[in-house]
Structures are given as C-alpha cells and as structure tokens.
C-alpha cells in the first residue's frame, strides 16, 4: 500500500518534471525573443497545461476517494449523528457539483482563451442580469442550507429534560479522562478543584448528599438507547471531549461546566460486526503485522492486534501528551451496563476505604 502510494507520487512527480522539461525545451527563447514577457508559445503551452491541471485536480480527487474512502468514519453510533450525516451528505453533494462546475469553467476558459498575437478580447465590463443570477442562486441555496443546518443544530443542542437523560460528568485533566456517574439519584454532587485531596481526585464535595452515590471510573460505559447528558469539567487547561463515532464534541473549560447530549444506538459488539469496521480492523491489523516484523527484527516487542472500541479523544491542544489523552468508551446492552455499574464502588465507599 505505502509502496504503491510512493510509486504513485514518484510517477506524478516524474510527469511533472517531464512537463517542466518540455516547457523548458519549447520555451527556449529564440535569439530575437529574449523577453521575460509571455509570448504566443508560452500562452499556448500554459493554456494546455491549465486544461491538464483541471483534469489533474479531478483525477487527484478521484484517486483520493478510491484509495481512502475506507478511512472515513463508519455510520453514526448515535441518534443525532445520522442527522448530521445526512446534512453532511447534502452539503457535500452540493459543494462537489459547484466545485466541479466552476473549476471546469476556470480551466476550460484558461485553455480556450489563451492568448494569441492579434486576437481581440471582448470588452465586457458588466451585465446586471448575469450578476443578479449568480447572486440570487447562492442566496437561495444558502438559505436552504442555513435553515436545514439551524434546525439540526437546535435539535442537537437543546437538551430536553423530559427525556430524562442520564447525567454523567466527563472530567478532563493533563493528560487523562475520568467519568463520574451520578448514581441512583441521577444528580451529580457539587465539586470544585479546591476540594481535590487524595482519592477525591475530582474535588467532589464529600458532604453533599447527592455526591454519596456518585461513581468515578476511568472507562466510559453507556447503555444503548438511553439518552445521556455529559456535564464536562476541566481541571487545568482547555480540553475537548471528542467522540467521533457519536458525532459528538464539546470543549472542557476550567471554571465552567459545559454539556453535550446524545443517545448511543449501536453497542460496541454490534459495531464490531459492522462490515465497514470489520474491513477497517482487518486492514489495520495487516498494517500492524507488517510493522511488527520490523520491530521484531530489531528485537522489540510486536504490536498487539487491534480490536475496535469507541473512543474519547482530547481535541484541544493541551500540552506535551495531548496526542495520547484518551478514554475507552463501551456501549453495552442495558443488562450488561447494569451488571458493570453495580461492581463500581460509589464515592462514599471509595472515601471510606481511604
């Protein structure tokens, strides 16, 4: 794969160099024409190259799609995510049509109207009708997109308490995550960084009755189909809780509580069976096997085979280990979730043990 790509790049580069040398050859100045101003030959060659460049642009995009279509995110694992995906799809189709069309005009005109001595350009200074058309069309299209986008956005961001979402706190610090479940009362206990002490890593107010049944963990388990509201805090600098598979992201800001809510729809087990994921994991494991060979040859340990898991990443620059600030997310069935949460000690128990 890498070898293929490298070869591809080398070929493209070769073509570019060849074209260059052609330009050089063709544009070798004749003794009487040593000016640095483009002459008919330059116009001709560069006109053709412009056409070629337009086709190169299309080809490059086609190659990218063909080679890397499979790296894109799989279907959304949350309810609102599929809305985002359809909006994305509509916008993408639109920008591809517009891009294709305008780039073609640009390239084709550059080629078609390349200069020639004695040719006369058309004096065409303005045309109100034309300009009106290409003002009004974007206005209409964008009005549609804006309205579609705003409805989607409002749906996602306006959390309705009637859905009785489960409250979970996401707590970010350099360079790891903690999750605090609100327990049976579905209410988080008060917390502040000033109360951080020993086991009480999140600064939860131990005297708050709501805090007693809170559960602090470092692996996020979510029951499928249940609406979750994440309350986010940060202990030190800005972080961003990014859960790409759920189309969810929100910054964690020290001194304030931010929130994001979604309903997971696909369990981890189901996602592992998803065709795209199966293919992706297979590809990744092949790459890892290849890489391991080199490592083993150097006398180092081989890479472990990869198994798919949802993940939470930090997506706001936060320091040296920003690149490795992650937490595993597991979407369980309701029963699995209940079994798991039962085994986790509540805050009261954890503090008592101390």
């Amino acid at each position: 794969m890498t070898a293929f790509l490298v070869v591809l790049v080398i070929i493209l580069f070769g073509v570019a160099v060849w074209q260059m040398s052609k330009i050089f050859q063709l544009s070798q100045p004749k003794p009487d024409d040593s000016s640095e101003i483009a002459n008919d030959k330059d116009n001709n060659i560069n006109g053709w190259l412009m056409m070629g460049f337009t086709i190169f642009t299309y080809l490059l995009l086609a190659i990218c799609f063909w080679k890397w279509w499979d790296v894109l995110l799989p279907e959304s694992a949350s309810e609102h995510g599929s809305e985002i995906d359809s909006l994305m799809y509509v916008s993408m189709v639109l920008i591809f049509i517009v891009g294709f069309f305008t780039l073609w005009l640009l390239g084709f005109f550059s080629f078609k109207f390349r200069g020639e001595k004695g040719k006369r350009a058309t004096f065409f200074a303005d045309n109100d009708k034309l300009e009106f058309i290409w003002t009004i069309i974007p206005v209409i299209v964008l009005a549609g997109l804006i309205i579609y986008g705003l409805f989607t956005w409002t749906d996602i961001m306006n959390v309705n308490d009637e859905d009785d979402p489960m409250v979970i706190e996401l707590y970010a610090y350099q360079f790891d995550w903690r999750a605090r479940y609100s327990g049976e009362d579905n209410t988080l206990g008060e917390a502040n960084v000033r109360l951080i002490e020993g086991v009480n890593q999140l600064g939860v107010d131990a005297s708050d009755p709501n805090a007693q049944d809170d559960i602090v963990v470092n692996e996020l388990h979510l029951p499928v189909g249940r609406k979750i509201i994440f309350k986010m805090r940060s202990q030190d600098v800005l972080h961003s809780a990014y859960m790409p598979h759920f189309r969810a992201q929100m910054n964690c800001v020290p001194g304030m509580i931010t929130q994001f809510s979604f309903t997971p729809t696909i369990t981890t087990e189901e996602m592992r069976m998803n065709d795209e994921i199966v293919a992706k994991v297979r590809k990744i494991n092949n790459i890892r096997k290849e890489n391991s060979k080199a490592l083993v040859a150097k006398g180092e340990e081989a890479l472990e085979p990869y198994e798919f898991d949802y993940m939470l990443l930090c997506n706001k620059i936060c320091g040296a280990s920003h690149y490795n600030m992650q937490m595993k997310i597991v979407v369980d069935t309701q029963e699995e979730y209940e079994a798991w949460i039962k085994e986790q000690p509540t805050l009261a128990e954890a503090l008592k043990e101390q």
């Binding site: 642009t57 890397w68 640009l106 800005l238 990869y306 620059i317």
Partner: protein
C-alpha cells in the same frame, strides 16, 4: 527629514526638482520612501516565510515517520531533537510558530505591507504615503517584532507552544507546558509590537487613499487593488486593537496575578488562586481579531488578482461595482462571524445559530467574486505570464478551499470536524495557499516596479508555478480525508491510537508532496535573488497595463514622477475597448488605454 517628506506630499502639484543627498543609511535602512519600505517588508516577509515553511517540513517529517530518527532534528532543534527523536513539546512549538509566522509575519506584513506600500501611492498618483515617517516607524516596529519572535525560538524552555491561537490557561501557565514561560512572554511582546506596526501602517494607508488621490482619481476609478488595501486597512484598525487588549489581559494574568481568563485551576499538585475568569472570553477577543485577520490576509490577494487578471486577460474586470461591493460586504461580514471558531467552546448554542447564519452569508459575496473572475477570463486574450498563472491558481484554491467552508461554517457539521485535519486543509487552501498565490502573483507582476525595470525569469517562474500548484493540492486534498476520518490536529504522533493506523500512508503522501512543494520555492528564491541584480530589463510598461504606476519613472526617485503627477480621466480597466465604429481599438493598434489618457472623441464614455 520628515518635514521634507510631508512637504512633498502636501504640495501636490507639479514642481519636483529639488533632491536631497541621500546617504546609505537614509536610502536603504531608515528610508521614508514607500518603494524602499515596500521592499524591506517583502524581504523581511520572505525571510520569515523561509523559517515558517522550514518548520512545516520538520513537523511533516515527524507526522509521516513518527518512529524514524532523523539527524536533521538534532541539527536544527538541538536538545529537542536528541538522537534524531523530536520532543513532543517542540512539535507543538513548531506548529505554533509556523502558524504565527505564516499568518502574521508573512501573509499580513509580507503581503499587505509590501503591496499596500508599493502600490497605494503609485496607483493613486501620490508622491509618497501621507506620512513617510510613520511608514518608516511601522516597518521598523515590524522588523523589531520579527526579531523578537525569532529570538523567542532560542529561549531555554522553548518558544510559545500553545498553538497560534494561544488559548489560556495553556498559554498562561508555564506549569502546563514549558513553552508558556519566557517563550510565551516574548511571543506576546512581539505581537504587541506587531500590532502597533500594523496599526500605524493601516492608518497611513487609509489617510493616503482618502486624501492623496491625484486629480480625476475618484473612488470609483480606483483600481481594485487599492480598494482591497483600503478596506483591509480599515478591518485592521477595527480588529487589531481587540487582540492587543486580549494580549494585554493575558500578560496581566500571567505576570500580575489577575484572573481575566483563569478560574478554578488545579495544576502540578496545587490549586491556583484565580477565580472568576473565563477562557471563553479570551476566545471571543482572540477571534474578534482572528477572523477578520483571515480577510486581512486574503483581501489584498483578491485585489491584486483582480488587477493582474484583467491586465493579462486584456479585458476589463467583470462587474467592477459588484467587485467593490463584495469587498465591502466581505469586510463587514468578517467582523460578525468570529463565533464560528467557537461553536463547541461552551458558548450558548443560540449564539452558534447566529454565527452560522452570518458565516454562511459570506459565501454570497465570495461566490460573486469567483464568478466575476471566471467571467473576466471568458473571451479574453490571456497572456500567460507567471503573475496571471498564479492568479488563476488563486481562484482555483479559493474555490476548493472556500467550498469546504460551507461545511465548517455550519455549526451542526462543525461538531464532528472541528479541530480535525479537515479544518487544517480548509484554511490552508482558502487563506494560506490562496494568499501565497496572491503574493507570488504580485511579486511576479510588480517586480519590475520594485527593482527598477528588472524582470523575473519567466521559465523559472513557470517551473515554480506548476510544481507549486500540483504540490499544494497534493498536500491538502488528502488532508480532508484524514480529517473526516476523525484525526485531530496538533497530535505529535497518531500511533497512540491504533484506530488511526490506516492513515499513516496518507500522511506519508502528504509529506512527500510538502517536501516537493517546499523545494519548488527554492526555485523562486533563486529567481528572486538572481533577478534582483541580473534580471533582464523590460519595457517601462511590460504588461501593457492601464494603471498609473507604469507611468512613473522606472528608476526609483523620491516623489515617483519626475515631472508633474499625471491626472486621471478614466477608470483602470479600459482594455480592448473599441472605438464607436468597432473597427479598431480606441487607440489604433493598442489594446489598452492608460488611466491618464483623456476620453477620446471616438469612444463611448462609461459611468466611471
């Protein structure tokens, strides 16, 4: 000396015989002549550009081959590249300084500083800027800020590394990242001086355009370059002071224990006393400049592209009034869209809706501009000079980069691509690469004006252009894909996530293209330096352009025109205008009518 310069500008009329003896110091160093200052800006900008691009190659190497050891790290980064392994902190420092240098030092000062200085007096028919002295101060402040920024690279704990957006608390706390110590202090000092420089420059540009236009040069006869520089200067004056206030408050938070941006922080085992501040406030202040800033970068490029395109298409720019109106619309909208950088910052979602609305509106004037450029080359007689090629390249990247803005400006879609490589690809194409193309187009086009008639070698120019355009798309098209795969930006390595293992080869492709593209810039650099001294001299008006700068003396003299300043009788775009019978051009055998030629009997007068 300053009195002398002002005198010249004020007595606007025709006698200009007396010249003072210039010493080396007043001619090349502390010059008050706008043409020299413009060259100083350009060369300083290009020098900073070399640093910025070299940094990008370093971190691209790291991203493509995170496990490999490169001696070049050790050579260039010293203790942060020991054994050929890059330190994660220095990776962040590299991306931070790369962004800062490219956005501010290359594309703001290097682009707008160079060409506003060169072209405003020459194209409006003025002897010099309104204040030559302030102009000189503006350059030297810029130079000082560049020196401080470069110095900050050599600080013991490393330069600023909190990203070019320097969001606190990361940028405020040396405990959070070593670069937030002395490196960050120098960054802030450098930027504060930079802002002062930019403000002095902008005020000068505004006053010059408003007051010093030659007789007959009404606002509607201004070339689009001048409109762009003028509006850019206004946005600069409106928004840069806000960044200054943000920087000032950050300095206070860092050094004097205030809590503008800091609250409830526990770091390195202790609780800080700060309470009540908000990092979101900083984001608002930063982006109130930060977003107009991208238009400060792109508008001058747009103006130059319009001018160069019309000249080389031998056609008037299509829809001059619409072009001016869209510049104004973009400038206005640019000041009310900053929140689209903050959809998921924790600000009220309703604000997100408002900013989505205003942001997507920008697509309208942008679309008008793009269509007008395309119509300008329709049925033209395109002279493929390198400046023209870069202008066409500009429209191409402005379209491809601008379209993805429709995705990012939509708050709902932004949720999942925010801060991923999709954003990096988007803004590099639409403002980075496009503005660089504008810069190159300007350099190729106006080089003869800067260096007394000498021209850049066109064949080297063609090589530079073609390798650059192919390479730039090679870098940034694939980058959209890794962004949509969910890969966050500013990751030192992606190997911590096996899920991203299949993106490794995409990163290799991007890096190879980046190296090729950077290498092509060496061709330009050689061409630039060589042609400065040995370039062939062309005719006085090599591109057969209508604007006033080509009527000025080829040899640089203080005051630009040896005789009286020409008066203006028409707009700047009378290319290929036919006489009333449509038998020949208005001036037989010449397809352009310079602005200082009076309206002839055999032509129809337009409303300009």
């Amino acid at each position: 000396m300053s009195a002398h310069a002002i005198e010249h500008v004020e007595d606007h009329h025709d006698d200009h015989g007396h010249h003072h003896k210039e010493t080396f110091l007043t001619k090349y160093i502390f010059s008050q002549d706008h043409k020299m200052i413009s060259k100083q800006y350009l060369i300083t900008g290009l020098f900073m550009g070399i640093i910025g691009i070299a940094m990008s190659i370093l971190f691209r190497l790291q991203l493509a081959w995170p496990d490999k050891e490169f001696t070049i790290y050790e050579v260039l980064l010293g203790k942060w590249g020991e054994g050929g392994v890059m330190d994660p902190n220095v990776y962040l420092a590299l991306v931070t300084i790369h962004g800062t240098i490219m956005v501010f030092f290359v594309l703001t000062a290097g682009l707008s500083g160079t060409f506003s200085n060169l072209l405003i007096p020459l194209q409006i028919g003025a002897r010099d800027m309104a204040s030559g002295f302030l102009n000189m101060v503006s350059y030297w402040l810029f130079f000082l800020s560049s020196v401080i920024m470069v110095m900050s690279l050599f600080v013991e704990a490393g330069p600023a590394s909190a990203g070019w957006t320097i969001y606190p608390p990361l940028s405020a706390l040396p405990q959070a990242i070593p670069g937030s110590g002395a490196g960050m202090t120098l960054w802030l000092v450098s930027m504060a001086i930079f802002i002062a420089s930019s403000l002095l420059g902008s005020l000068n540009y505004i006053v010059t355009v408003l007051n010093l236009r030659t007789k007959g040069m009404s606002m509607t006869r201004l070339p689009l370059t001048i409109w762009a520089f003028f509006v850019t200067a206004i946005i600069g004056v409106v928004s840069f002071p806000v960044l200054f206030s943000a920087a000032l408050m950050l300095i206070m938070d860092r050094s004097f224990g205030t809590s503008f941006f800091l609250s409830d922080i526990y770091i390195a085992g202790e609780v800080l006393h700060n309470q009540g501040g908000s990092p979101v406030l900083f984001e608002h202040l930063f982006w109130f400049l930060g977003h107009p800033e991208v238009y400060i970068v792109i508008l001058p490029a747009m103006g130059m592209v319009s001018e160069i395109m019309a000249t080389n298409a031998r056609k008037p720019i299509f829809g001059y009034r619409a072009m001016v109106a869209s510049i104004l619309a973009i400038a206005f909208l640019s000041t009310i869209v900053w929140g689209h950088h903050m959809f998921i910052s924790g600000m009220n979602p309703f604000l997100g809706s408002v900013f989505t609305f205003t942001t997507l509106l920008i697509a309208i004037p942008s679309a008008v501009k793009s269509f007008n450029w395309i119509t300008t080359i329709w049925r033209g007689n395109l002279q493929m000079n390198t400046g023209m090629l870069f202008s066409i390249g500009f429209v191409s990247t402005f379209i491809t980069g601008g379209l993805t803005g429709i995705i990012l400006g939509d708050s709902a879609l932004d949720i999942n691509v925010h801060d991923t490589y999709f954003v990096v690809a988007h803004f590099h194409l639409v403002m980075g690469i496009s503005a660089l193309y504008g810069l190159f187009a300007g350099v190729y086009h106006w080089f003869p004006k800067m260096f007394q008639g000498r021209m850049l070698n066109k064949n080297l120019g063609y090589v530079h252009f073609w390798v650059t355009v192919i390479g730039a798309y090679g870098v940034f098209f694939p980058m959209h894909f890794i962004g949509m795969a969910g890969l966050p930006r500013r990751y030192y390595t992606n190997t911590a996530f096996p899920y991203f293992d299949d993106l490794a080869d995409v990163n290799v492709v991007i890096t190879i293209f980046a190296i090729i593209t950077a290498a092509a810039q060496l061709v330009f650099l050689y061409n630039f330096i060589h042609s400065m001294f040995h370039g062939k001299k062309g005719p006085k008006n090599p591109w057969k352009s209508t604007t006033l700068e080509w009527t000025a003396e080829v040899k640089h003299i203080h005051g630009n025109w040896d005789g009286p300043i020409p008066h203006v009788h028409r707009w700047a775009y009378d290319y290929s205008k036919l006489n009333k019978d449509e038998t020949d051009y208005v001036i037989p055998g010449q397809d352009y009518i310079p602005q200082h030629i009076p309206i002839k009997d055999n032509e129809e007068e337009l409303n300009h």
